[in-house]
């Protein structure tokens, strides 16, 4: 751990200062986390009157449940797609914006605001656009591609709907980071390459892109975390996991089994698995890009 060489000396003050943080963290993080882990080894009725210890039964049931594994795949596919769409688009827009240096602030203003929109609202907006009976984009798809658009019934249509709603909201976040990343690249490098006769495209792939890779990694991790958790609002508002469970991502399943189905043991086990997954991602992130941190809150 990095240390300052210069310190204040006080016996009580540092403890007093850190106390609120420790209190909040212990009450709303450690205690619930421990409870969650304990509950994942238990079978309990919704009202909490009967509880029994069942060892790993909840986990075994989970990993032998083909639907849970399906939900894992769905989550991976979903977050992969969101990352792909929002990163490609964000990078593209940032590259373009970086070329028109005069108007960067204006372009940024025009592109940044979806960051502020709640996932649930983003879901509602896109639901309206892609509504099978009223959506203007749905009508466009039906007329131009001859597809019988119906996200209520077709798994792939429903998936596309939530991917678009999630990616749209995330483009602006990615855009801001890519633009900053691009602006941080020394101009001398690009100029040198230009003098060597490299075309703009070649320069992008040979110089800009590799230099952006830390940003890329960071943005990818952030997008994946977003699609793992915050997309809950989108799913809840738009598909509620359907049709046929095809958009039932892990975090939604935790909610559905625990809060709607009142199956507490299984839901807790699912939470523990998610926790493990996030810890893994965090470790990976810090291993590769130590100094990057998330900013979603």
């Amino acid at each position: 751990m990095i240390k300052k060489r210069s310190y204040f000396k006080s016996r009580k003050l540092p403890y007093l200062l850190i106390l609120p943080q420790i209190l909040v963290t212990a009450t709303f993080f450690y205690w619930p986390a421990i409870q969650g882990i304990v509950a994942s080894f238990q079978l309990s009725d919704p009202f909490g009157f009967r509880t029994q210890f069942v060892w790993f039964d909840n986990f075994i049931a989970l990993f032998t449940d083909s639907l849970y594994l399906e939900s894992v795949l769905t989550t991976l596919f979903f977050s992969g797609s969101v990352a792909l769409v929002s990163i490609t688009f964000g990078l593209f827009l940032a590259t373009m914006a970086n070329r028109v240096l005069k108007a960067t602030t204006l372009t940024r203003t025009l592109l940044i605001w979806p960051y502020a929109i709640a996932p649930a609202i983003s879901g509602i907006l896109w639901l309206f656009l892609l509504h099978p009976s009223y959506g203007v984009v749905a009508i466009f798809i039906e007329d131009w591609f001859g597809i019988d658009w119906n996200p209520l019934l077709e798994s792939s249509h429903a998936m596309l709907l939530i991917v678009l709603a999630s990616a749209w909201k995330n483009v602006s976040y990615n855009f801001v980071f890519f633009l900053a990343g691009l602006q941080a690249i020394p101009h001398s490098l690009i100029e040198a390459a230009a003098m060597d006769g490299a075309s703009p495209f070649r320069r992008f792939w040979a110089i800009t892109f590799p230099l952006l890779s830390p940003t890329m990694f960071f943005v990818t991790v952030m997008t994946i975390i977003f699609s793992f958790f915050e997309s809950f609002g989108i799913i809840h508002a738009v598909t509620q996991g359907g049709p046929g469970g095809s958009t039932n991502i892990l975090v939604y399943k935790v909610y559905q089994d625990g809060f709607i189905g009142l199956n507490l043991g299984s839901s807790s086990a699912q939470s523990v698995v998610l926790m493990g997954l996030i810890i893994l991602i965090t470790v990976l992130q810090f291993k590769y890009v130590e100094r990057k941190v998330q900013y979603t809150g």
Partner: protein, 307 residues
């Protein structure tokens, strides 16, 4: 400043940007138009792209039907509470970790840091239980120690002590659990580490107390970072979904984003999308304004911290 003249590429750049901006803006534009139309027009297929004159009526209807007045206030309290809470708690926390040397410094840092990436969603169920009865842990300790028996012995008759304090349907319940996050602490720590040592040394020479140093030097220096975090945390708090959905059951205590869900036309209702869209516009406006108005600090803070 272009490296060389590439007129075709430049044209393409402008066209692509314009196209991108339109694409990003389209859902919102469409929502705005829908919010100005009466029911007959909004359920027309395809919907007319010419705005109508019903915006005021629709906003009004959404406002009263969705209890948006109360709920926007709740959202505001929640978002500000989370923002303030997190920033204050973490400023102090980071100050303690960076500028003091004490026995449990590393332990404290590690304990806080462990929570960095874990969002409330992964521990949602027990956190909920926790919020339902904040004294749950105390109660378990109480029961574990068998203190009921001790009390009963003193009193000479059976007494059952139940400690209870519920955060359900309260502002504290909406705010407190979401302040348990290490992100801000970590950011301030990173920032404090970049502040030259000389400042601290000089302060000590002048005989300034730690808190004077904190208020007079550290906080002013952190202004940009605080501003950026205000935006980030306000948006984060405003847009919370799963937590307010669970913690509030009273429509008067719920937040606007949740309330909006009830404006969505259900299979039971006529397709009143104009009302839903009007409601959506109202609810998304405050965080958008915050982001746009504080854009400069926000972007600077966001990106600087990423380094």
């Amino acid at each position: 400043m272009m490296v060389e003249k590439t007129p075709i590429l430049d044209t393409f750049t402008y066209v692509a940007l314009l196209f991108g901006i339109m694409l990003v803006g389209f859902p919102i534009l469409y929502a705005i138009i829908a919010a100005t139309l009466p029911l007959e027009d909004v359920s027309q297929v395809p919907m007319s792209m010419i705005p109508g004159d019903q915006l005021f009526n629709n906003v009004n209807e959404a406002w009263s039907r969705g209890h948006l007045g109360t709920q926007l206030f709740n959202s505001f309290v929640m978002a500000s509470g989370i923002t303030l809470g997190k920033i204050i708690v973490s400023l102090f926390g980071a100050f303690s970790i960076v500028y003091f040397d004490y026995r449990f410094r590393v332990v404290a840092f590690a304990a806080v840091f462990c929570t960095l990436m874990l969002p409330v969603e992964v521990r949602i169920l027990p956190t909920y239980e926790m919020a339902a009865n904040l004294f749950g842990p105390l109660q378990s300790v109480w029961n574990f120690l068998g203190l009921d028996g001790v009390i009963s012995w003193f009193a000479g008759h059976d007494i059952e002590v139940s400690l209870e304090f519920s955060l359900l349907d309260s502002y504290a319940g909406l705010i407190l659990p979401l302040t348990a996050s290490a992100t801000c602490t970590f950011l301030f720590r990173q920032f404090f580490l970049t502040i030259p040592e000389e400042l601290c040394e000089a302060a000590k020479m002048d005989g300034a107390s730690p808190m004077t140093f904190f208020w007079k030097i550290l906080v002013p220096l952190s202004k940009t970072n605080i501003a950026a975090l205000v935006v980030i945390e306000f948006v984060y708090g405003w847009n919370q979904y799963l937590w307010p959905l669970l913690i509030t059951t009273n429509p008067k205590m719920t937040t606007a984003v949740i309330g909006l869900h009830h404006l969505l036309p259900s299979p039971e209702d006529p397709p009143e999308w104009h009302i839903a869209m009007a409601g959506a516009l109202i609810v998304m406006l405050p965080p958008i304004l915050v982001v746009l108005l504080m854009q400069r600090w926000f972007v600077k803070g966001l990106v600087e911290k990423e380094k």
